[in-house]
Symmetry: C2
């Protein structure tokens, strides 16, 4: 146990929002208020971007209702950013802001890039002899952070997608008269964790349940094999439901649907995403109808169908970050650790920020079935516990009712930062 | 009160599924079992298509759990069809099947086309002197049935879409750093009821809430006006959220995205839907990023976020159909009637099937604001009550758990039908 460090804490959020990243902030706030060495509990607006501008709010002034409401409110209540600090000047400015407000604890909720930023801030503070404890809180629907068993945000997006897949499948089954190929495009630019998770929509006792084909960025796309796979499903079933990750690539590593160039990897003009592309492949090559849907941004914010397990772990991770910092830890990220044994249990531990920053966790090859289009029991055993339990979201006037923080800004004391 | 008619009843489902059409079947079954004049309670598989083939199940043999589970199970538990009876021979066959199984009560859950079919079956029975009472049960997410105030299925799809819109909006707001145009494509080929309903995602006290633009098939699309409208929103807001009905048309009445021809109405090759088209219009004409999503089939089956009011009314409509038939009514559809007064109250009444069959209910012109992109207070007053209350869906292993009927077929007694 290192010596007690007195001062203020600041929590901020970075990268794409999730259904549970605010639960992590709630965890930080709840635990910070338990520790007398932490004086003020601040929130940084829009990640490092707001901190550069001294856009800081007093979280202790928020009503208890608001803080409690963070537990089920999706997106990033403090605002977020995809801004990458580039110049030394910018890092210096962050430390300057921290010094100006006696911020001694910095909690950053985010993915790889954000933990890289946190790491650099931490190292700079050390080199300047400014006593600062920096702890990262994992967050990403993509589930691609290394060292942690899984990441808060992932279980909830999977739960929502499984619900949509199961409900869509029931619709197709009811229609049941003609061959139909239905394609659901989900997020996941670099890893297929999200698409893979949709396998949990299958009932345990029915291997023929949807999704029938899961297309992952980890398995290079072959048009011929895809057509064969669809045909094989349609021999057994009246419809074929395909879940595809947006980042599907061909054998040369090119995205099948490249939204930047507006072309697919075959050079065709392509307005839609990879789901639309697959639908056109089906209709051009098989005498069946294809439909596609694309769940879009809504999937990562779908708190109305989010996982209580995921939510609890996000909250736990926030609390663990504060506990670790108060105990003297710094330059680490909270990780989730799956306890040994048959029954799922999740604990927290710590890993160096530098390790997180430079890794991408891929789906282990031996969790994907040999057919390349389905997940095996190892994956299911891993993923199943993460979607358990339903977060109860309050509705008002028929629509989910979420909180908006009152965001009382603290007084700026520095001159505005002028670079950029 | 006409004289009591003894015999069996048959309920069937037709057209696109909804989140609550099974609740109507549950209502029929519950009420049928209350009436001793109804002997057997049968279900016809896949609408008239299954009836032609004597594919009939004994609903009284289903467990109570199953029948109770129909209350929250989406899609069509009896299977459905889009099959249109064309030849006299086919209508004759339906009557033959009814006679063979002493079916004296026929309840058909469906939209315009289905009620047209029911009407013709009823008239044929009358002309043949076969005593049959036919009552339609309204069903459509499109809300385009005439004479009824609204249709079961509509409130639930609106509730789900409002949840997705609100959650997506919170995500965009959190990102908040750059101009973004987000387009959500929803169902509605011929009428904009569904897209219009998304207006309920706005909080009462915040006119700047999403959705910022609602594009309806009722208001011909103009590219220039659309670009201007987006620009106007982006002057006030950091992002612009657009909800568009899939059936958006241009001033000549052509679909903006014509999935049949694979071309948009300007003759460009078009794989995606109208949402993708609008995104490309934004990116080509304004220096902002656009994203689109397309909720697809999942939206009409989203029981996990369905309206209790809608569900109750679907059940009520099923019960009302049986009550009316037992009381001697025939050749009518149950309609929902909004009671006078400030507080919403829904009652049932009856309207002739022939009236339903030939009408399409459009959004009254004076419910659309003059700007052509938003709904006014009249629409809100109409739609708001329909999404109230949340259906509690059981989850098992993290995913909504719905029932599947055991579907015990009754013995066929006729020769197979051979035409077609």
């Amino acid at each position: 146990m290192s010596e007690e460090l007195e001062g203020n804490c600041l929590v901020a959020q970075s990268g794409g929002p999730t259904a549970v990243i605010n639960a992590s902030v709630a965890g930080v706030v709840a635990e910070a208020l338990n520790n007398p060495c932490i004086e003020e509990v601040y929130g940084g607006m829009n990640g490092v971007l707001g901190i550069l501008n001294e856009e800081i709010i007093d979280l202790a002034e928020e009503s208890q209702q608001n803080v409690r409401g963070l537990r089920y409110t999706p997106a990033s209540a403090l605002g977020t950013c995809r801004f990458k600090l580039k110049r030394d000047q910018e890092y210096e400015r962050i430390i300057e802001v921290f010094e100006a407000h006696n911020i001694r604890y910095f909690f950053y909720c985010g993915g790889n890039d954000s933990q890289d930023t946190a790491d650099k801030i931490s190292k700079l503070a050390q080199s300047k002899g400014y006593d600062l404890r920096v702890i990262g809180v994992p967050k990403t629907i993509d589930n691609d952070l290394v060292t942690t068993d899984h990441s808060p945000g992932y279980g909830s997006v999977v739960k929502y997608i499984c619900s949509v897949v199961r409900e869509s499948a029931m619709d197709h089954e009811a229609m049941g008269q003609h061959d139909l190929v239905s394609i659901i495009e989900v997020m996941g630019r670099n890893a297929g964790w999200i698409a893979a998770g949709s396998t949990l929509a299958k009932a345990k006792d029915n291997a023929n349940d949807a999704p029938h084909l899961i297309l992952l960025p980890e398995v290079p796309f072959s048009k011929d094999k895809f057509i064969e796979d669809v045909q094989a499903v349609l021999k057994k079933n009246k419809y074929c439901l395909v879940v595809v990750g947006e980042g599907l690539i061909d054998k040369d590593g090119n995205y099948i649907a490249n939204s930047a160039s507006g072309q697919d990897s075959f050079g065709h003009q392509q307005l839609g995403g990879v789901g639309d592309f697959l639908a056109s492949v089906v209709e051009q090559n098989l005498a069946v109808k294809a439909r596609s849907s694309k769940l879009g941004i809504g999937q990562r914010a779908a708190a109305h169908c989010s996982s209580q397990t995921d939510n609890d772990e996000a909250f736990l991770a926030g609390k663990a970050a504060v506990k670790a910092a108060v105990a003297g830890e710094t330059d680490k990220m909270v990780i989730l650790v799956r306890a040994e044994g048959e029954n799922y249990q999740c604990e927290t531990s710590l890993a160096p920020l530098s390790e997180i920053a430079n890794g991408v966790k891929e789906i282990p090859e031996d969790w994907i079935s040999e057919d390349g289009i389905s997940m095996n029991a190892k994956f299911i055993k891993y993923c199943q516990p993460l979607i358990q339990g339903e977060v109860e979201v309050p509705f008002e006037n028929g629509v989910p009712s979420y909180v908006r923080l009152s965001k009382r800004r603290i007084r700026k004391v520095l001159d505005p930062h002028e670079f950029e």
